[in-house]
């Protein structure tokens, strides 16, 4: 999701562990962070912060920056946890369309899809609705036949000639329709072949003779091509299961039980070993084994359509090509790659597309990857939005909001006046280069202890377009959070308070070293930004491209100079800020709200991380050129 300005991202500290540091240094740090994960890692990342500033433009940054609401917090590790630092466990499977749960025992057999009436359109992916074919009046007691219809692209199952007798259990009806279609078409040949199945499977010598093949070949392949993909898979599966059963040495061989087991089971290895040993060893055992082996049929491949073999007719390709080129097919008659990705491999045309049962989704609980502590546990029911456990970063780290100082506090969202694009509201999507703009950065504390905050930022934003950043008051305190009820009671007064402040604050001038505004558990400081000038606006025409290119090839670092045109989002001002929090918390439990009594024991806590503020986009002068 591209976010509107201003936005906040927080860098998960996990991204710092594999930084390309001198290797010796890194290993030592890895060790130490393993020993006492939390605090030391935090403090070390702090040290590192002094060394090198976080670069939001570096390719790695993409993998560590997250919107704050996506981050979790592990109390044991005392660290922020991003989606990369956690493991997930499925709590339940549910259909996103009917929101019914599918028991985990059923999930596999249903192919991870809803077994009810939920289908998506094979043409456009929109959900299909069950509707009557005839929109009959109430007098008619009997409704239907029923169809599945897409309300988005107007595709219906009538397009592929499908109707349903009942409006319920569509998936069962569908599979029956498919089966019948196969059955009817293949019955003549399959039933004939089925009788010879037992004999066929016994020995491989019964390969269909040349005349027999010719006899079938004219008729059979066409029928086979009609065989449903799933039915063929099932036939193949049973065929190979039978093959395993028949070719395995003893009827009690566990291999015959499941098809998958043969390849993974250690008993398969035993069987192979027994073959070797029996043949090499003499004696009665060996002889007996040999005798038995000679009797056993050799495993073979599927030979007939009933076994799942499919021989494409020799003219199949030509047939498809002819159809593709025919005027009544055209571009619209062909299934797109996206459509075919979820269909049977044979589906080439729009008429081959079948409605798709809706894929299930999951609710998942989340654990810390390093200490296995549970961080998120949602309520079991699919429709519930509650959590049994939810340790989100926002209840530990302060919530930061940024807004431009002078005009309306919500610029992108609601310039509530429609007619006047007033001068007062500078669009954050077009900041004037070199023209200083002041922002209010508010941090709101969610801990029940007061927190000391230290902010640090490079004076110039990294990258080619350097904007000047000054935090007028980089050190301040956040008051403790209090109970929800207190907050609710104070809310009305607080807002009134705030409004009066901002009213008077309009004439207020930001001063260095002074906090702009302060509330019970929040503090606002001023951040001054001088947007940089974009490259290429003036110097570009003067450059000789050819000569410069050679230069670039020699020195890659030079590429970052003024030569290349503006890259994507290079005109966005992203301010890296190193946030360091220090507070005294009660022993062990940080988050117990019962900490109102006297504090018997306190621990110094510390947390540090990089935060990136997206302040706005620098106005391009090229636009006028």
């Amino acid at each position: 999701m591209a976010r509107p300005f201003p936005y906040t991202y927080i860098s998960c500290p996990c991204a710092e562990t594999p930084t390309p540091d001198p290797s010796a240094k890194r290993t030592s740090r890895d060790l130490s962070s393993k020993k006492n994960a939390g605090q030391s890692a935090a403090s070390e990342s702090g040290e590192e912060g002094d060394e090198q500033a976080f670069d939001p433009r570096s390719p790695r940054a993409n993998f560590s920056l997250y919107p704050p609401e996506q981050l979790l917090f592990c109390e044991d590790c005392h660290q922020i946890k991003c989606p990369r630092c956690i493991t997930e466990e499925i709590v339940c499977w549910y259909c996103p369309n009917c929101l019914f749960e599918t028991p985990s025992s059923m999930v596999r057999s249903e192919g991870n899809r809803c077994a009810r009436n939920c289908f998506t359109c094979p043409v456009c992916t929109a959900p299909l609705a069950v509707t009557t074919l005839e929109n009959t009046t109430e007098s008619h007691a009997h409704q239907g036949p029923w169809i599945l219809a897409c309300g988005y692209c107007m595709w219906t199952t009538l397009d592929i000639g499908l109707k349903f007798d009942k409006p319920t259990n569509i998936r069962i009806q569908l599979s029956k329709i498919y089966e019948n279609a196969n059955g009817r078409k293949a019955s003549k040949t399959v039933s004939g072949l089925k009788s010879s199945l037992s004999t066929l499977s016994s020995m491989s010598e019964q390969l269909p003779g040349p005349d027999e093949e010719g006899d079938d070949g004219s008729r059979n392949p066409k029928e086979q091509s009609q065989l449903d993909h799933n039915a063929r898979f099932a036939a193949l599966k049973t065929f190979y299961r039978n093959q395993i059963a028949e070719t395995s040495a003893s009827p009690t061989d566990p291999l015959g039980s499941d098809f998958g087991a043969i390849f993974s089971s250690p008993s398969a290895l035993n069987r192979i070993m027994s073959i070797y040993t029996s043949s090499t060893l003499g004696g009665p055992y060996g002889a007996a084994a040999k005798k038995q082996k000679s009797k056993l049929p050799v495993m073979r491949e599927a030979l007939t359509a009933s076994e799942g073999l499919k021989i494409p007719p020799p003219d199949a390709e030509r047939f498809i090509i002819e159809r593709v080129t025919s005027p009544d097919c055209g571009w619209d008659g062909l299934a797109s790659m996206d459509q075919r990705a979820f269909q049977s491999p044979d589906a080439r045309f729009v008429d081959d597309l079948r409605p798709l049962p809706v894929l299930l989704r999951t609710k998942r609980s989340k654990r810390c990857k390093s200490c296995k502590h549970i961080l998120v546990k949602p309520e079991f029911k699919p429709q519930s939005t509650r959590f049994r456990i939810r340790l989100i970063a926002l209840s530990y780290i302060p919530l930061s909001t940024l807004r431009p100082l002078v005009p309306s506090p919500y610029p992108g969202q609601l310039p509530s006046s429609t007619t006047s694009p007033s001068i007062s509201a500078p669009s954050l999507d077009a900041l004037e280069p070199s023209k200083p703009i002041q922002f209010l950065l508010t941090l709101k504390n969610h801990l029940f202890d007061p927190v000391n905050v230290t902010l640090a930022t490079p004076s110039l934003t990294p990258g080619r377009v350097t904007s000047k950043i000054t935090i007028l008051c980089p050190q301040f305190e956040l008051g403790a959070n209090s109970d929800v009820w207190d907050e609710a009671l104070q809310n009305a007064t607080a807002t009134a308070d705030r409004s009066s402040r901002s009213g008077s604050g309009f004439e207020k001038v930001a001063e260095a070293g002074k906090v702009w505004d302060k509330g019970r558990n929040w503090t606002t400081v001023v951040l001054e930004v001088v947007p940089g000038t974009l490259p290429g606006s003036s110097p570009r025409p003067t450059l000789q491209l050819g000569g410069k290119k050679v230069h670039d090839a020699r020195e890659t670092s030079d590429k970052w100079e003024n030569t290349s045109p503006l890259r994507e989002d290079e005109d966005v001002i992203e301010i890296p800020i190193f946030v360091r929090l220090e507070w005294d918390s009660e022993n062990q439990m940080i988050e117990q709200p019962m900490g109102k009594g006297q504090k018997p024991e306190t621990i110094k806590r510390e947390l540090a991380y990089w935060m990136v503020l997206g302040a706005g986009r620098i106005k391009s002068e090229d636009a006028s050129l």
């Binding site: 996103p96 456009c124 609705a129 929109n135 988005y152 959590f387 970063a393």
Partner: protein, 215 residues
């Protein structure tokens, strides 16, 4: 006060609703606002499309007969949706925000040859972006609907659903909680973080948004 909108752009009701004078509200007697609801300029809210027994296909004129509609719909055999008072066309919850040029339109369905409207229920803390057209059957709490979105007839957006800008939610689609949908037709493209909707963070800004209106 910062130089702001023309004074008195909004009508503030007893329950704190802020309604732009330039919004177009049809059939207000069929609309329920939960309080502290914001309706911006040029938003169109079609309270006049409430349920009648017989074809209401051409009833764009706001018919004041709420009682009459009740009687007639009582005679209709297919009173499937259990709405206590059928004359309510649109419900908007607390702190919900309707941006400029939004169109809210009760969903409709052709049932047994009769075209009838169903109520549009929108929950609390819902944000509806500019120029969006919403014809859903229900929109849960804390739902975000981006700008230029079209939510098709009878769609259901569960609590904490998130519709990306420009998406077209097809008719009848269900968007589960915490799911992000986008594209045309919309499909599930992601999930929201667990912190979404926390007061003051993304998804939890409804109160702030309300406060800023008309100041």
């Amino acid at each position: 006060m910062p130089p702001k909108a023309t004074k008195g752009e909004y009508i503030e009701t007893d329950t704190g609703n802020k309604i732009s004078r330039r919004s177009l509200i049809h059939g207000p007697q069929h609309i329920i606002l939960g309080g502290k609801t914001v309706i911006q300029a040029d938003a169109v809210i079609r309270g006049d499309l409430f349920r009648l027994a017989h074809s209401t296909s051409s009833s764009s004129s706001s018919l004041g007969g709420g009682g009459g509609g009740k009687e007639q719909s009582g005679s209709a055999a297919a009173a499937k949706t259990a709405s206590p008072s059928p004359s309510v066309a649109i419900t908007l919850g607390r702190y919900s925000y309707v941006s400029k040029q939004v169109i809210l339109r009760p969903p409709s369905r052709l049932h047994r040859g009769v075209h009838s409207f169903y109520p549009l229920k929108i929950g609390d803390h819902v944000f509806i972006g500019e120029r969006a057209v919403v014809e859903a059957a229900s929109v849960g709490n804390h739902v975000h609907i981006g700008k230029d979105v079209v939510v098709g007839s009878m769609a259901i957006l569960k609590d904490f659903a998130y519709v990306l800008d420009g998406a077209v939610v097809p008719p009848g689609m269900v968007v589960p909680s915490w799911c992000v949908v986008g594209g045309a037709p919309a499909r599930i493209v992601g999930e929201l973080g667990e912190g979404y909707g926390v007061e003051g963070a993304d998804g939890g800004l409804a109160r702030d948004r309300y406060r800023m209106v008309g100041r």
